[in-house]
């Protein structure tokens, strides 16, 4: 996509024209592009154009030690990095047959839900910006920052925590952390009515997002849609409940669904999930002090760690949908193959290409943000 590769084409006069939407565009998440064919402002077809964020993670991981990859994987998805670490760790633990102590599992759940809250705040703020409302974006990002403060306290890193390792987590929860997390949750819960007033029940948003980018349940299953986008078509499915990992089977939470399948429903599902994540975190705060024990099981010297040969497929529910790692070991000190299945590899490519047809140009940005697509997951 370099300028010298472009040539002006001689085309007969018509209303149809081609537009490069992205890679640097406020209506695109990350560096990602669409080649859009338009008739007036109606989209005739859209072709995804990825590759601007390709860093070759899967190849890089084959050349690094098992433990080194922990520092690499969260970078695959910037807004929601914790599921990457946890999913990779789960896959390696399955290969090694490691039993993660219960306390570490609860700490992981706490991190995952904090990350989900942060990612959802980011997502609805981004969507609001595509409809011309910038205040929710500022609010969402400002409140996300408070969660990042807690991440910093817990792990030392604000965005990339690099806190999970195969076998458990790196450090014990600091003194007084749970109380501070609790007061943060009180604050976030008190903000929910404000978000509603500002955004989710705002007629500007509702009129703009209703019936935009509608997916039926049948289409969702056919196109491989997962996560909140699937739940917005009315299907009650969540990896946390239906393919449980860590201690999610001991936690009570609801799976919010919406019948509409459009951009509005997808945002309303995320709105309800904010509440559910707060509910899960409160249960973690209640339970964690009573669970004693170590925070990681003994592992071999990580610099000379030969993971037994085999293959494993670990799945988690990230804020964007089903995230999975397929890891193959041949018994060496490095992975033989790691495959990352990011949920956005469906949402940002096939689903968006299908949904864009027939919509108006200004809705492409809205559809992309309502799907919460994350281009680095496509490129890897």
């Amino acid at each position: 996509m370099r300028p010298e590769n472009y040539q002006a084409r001689n085309q007969p006069p018509s209303n149809e024209f081609e537009l490069n939407f992205g890679p640097n565009h406020p209506g695109i998440e990350g560096n990602y592009a669409f080649r859009v064919k338009l008739n007036g402002d109606e989209v005739l077809s859209a072709r995804a154009d990825a590759g601007y964020l390709h860093r070759g993670f899967e190849k890089l991981m084959e050349g690094r030690l098992w433990i080194q990859n922990i520092a690499l994987v969260p970078r695959i998805c910037v807004p929601d990095p914790v599921p990457m670490e946890v999913c990779y760790s789960l896959a390696v633990e399955e290969l090694c047959g490691l039993e993660v102590p219960e306390r570490a599992q609860w700490i992981r759940v706490m991190q995952l839900e904090m990350s989900r809250l942060a990612a959802h705040l980011f997502a609805f703020g981004g969507h609001a910006a595509t409809t011309g409302m910038y205040t929710p974006m500022f609010w969402g990002v400002a409140d996300r920052d408070l969660i990042l403060d807690r991440f910093e306290e817990l792990t030392g890193g604000r965005v990339y925590s690099i806190y999970n390792i195969p076998g458990g987590v790196r450090r014990e929860v600091p003194d007084g952390f749970l109380e501070r997390l609790g007061s943060l949750l009180d604050y976030l819960e008190s903000r929910l009515p404000d978000y509603d007033n500002l955004f989710f029940t705002n007629q500007v948003f509702i009129k703009r997002a209703r019936d935009v980018g509608t997916i039926t349940q049948e289409q969702a299953l056919k196109w491989g849609v997962t996560g909140p986008n699937l739940r917005a078509t009315g299907l009650e499915f969540d990896v946390r409940r239906d393919d449980p990992y860590l201690v999610y089977d001991q936690i009570e939470f609801d799976i919010p669904t919406e019948p509409g399948g459009d951009a509005l429903s997808r945002n309303l599902v995320r709105r309800s999930e904010l509440k559910q994540s707060i509910r899960i975190l409160r249960q973690v705060i209640d339970r964690l002090p009573s669970i004693q024990g170590s925070i990681r099981c003994p592992i071999p010297n990580p610099l000379a760690w030969n993971v037994p040969a085999g293959e494993s497929y670990a799945r988690v529910e990230s804020s964007k949908g089903e995230l999975a790692y397929y890891v193959v070991s041949t018994g060496g000190d490095k992975p033989y193959r790691v495959h990352v299945r990011g949920p956005s590899s469906m949402h940002a490519v096939q689903v968006l290409e299908n949904l864009a047809v027939g919509c108006r140009l200004e809705d492409i940005a809205q559809i992309m943000f309502s799907l919460d697509a994350c281009p680095p997951e496509v490129d890897r």
């Binding site: 190849k59 491989g224 393919d243 999975a324 193959v328």
Partner: protein, 183 residues
């Protein structure tokens, strides 16, 4: 309901010849199948056993065996279990059948595998370049492509050795361990 379906599936898979079947846990099944029987197996799983969600297709390059291993992960929302169907195809000529007719998400994974491993899928809707648009070298995820050697051949370490770093090095600092010393 889901238990019955699981038992039914176990019986079904045990009956088919050329299929090796292993239940790893209550929600994970591994199936090894010949490359000629894989599309039929997936059709069976999707049509008669509710495995409607293609979670991923993974390619593994077993260069010592001169084979690509393809792993199809399919999930059933009803039985709540994941079947991983493994098959192997020869690296040369590197052609296999697309399953796009059965699972539409396959289009992305097949295009990705074609780009990264050079394995062509007949019948896939789009085999054009996607991520590596300006790459003309061999498929990079193949094991015989050495990324580090490529970098050493095409880029020069000297270019990244500016004067300010030389000054620091003269004082005894700088990059103490070079990448080649680490590995």
């Amino acid at each position: 309901m889901s238990k019955e379906l699981n038992i039914w599936l176990d019986d079904l898979l045990n009956d088919i010849e050329s299929v090796r079947f292993k239940r790893k846990s209550s929600r994970r099944v591994r199936v090894d199948v010949g490359s000629e029987a894989l599309p039929a197996l997936l059709e069976l799983l999707q049509g008669r056993a509710s495995y409607v969600h293609l979670s991923a297709i993974t390619c593994v390059d077993w260069i010592d065996d001169d084979e690509f291993e393809l792993v199809y992960h399919v999930w059933s929302y009803e039985t709540r279990s994941l079947v991983s169907a493994h098959t192997r195809v020869p690296r040369d000529p590197g052609v296999y059948l697309s399953i796009y007719d059965l699972y539409q998400p396959a289009a992305f994974f097949e295009r990705d595998i074609h780009e990264m491993f050079g394995l062509y899928f007949e019948g896939s809707p789009d085999m054009e370049k996607f991520i590596l648009t300006e790459w003309n070298g061999p498929p990079p995820m193949r094991k015989d492509f050495d990324g580090e050697a490529f970098v050493n051949q095409n880029f020069h370490w000297e270019q990244y050795h500016p004067q300010w770093l030389k000054d620091i090095e003269e004082e005894g600092g700088g990059i103490t361990t070079r990448p080649e010393d680490v590995r």
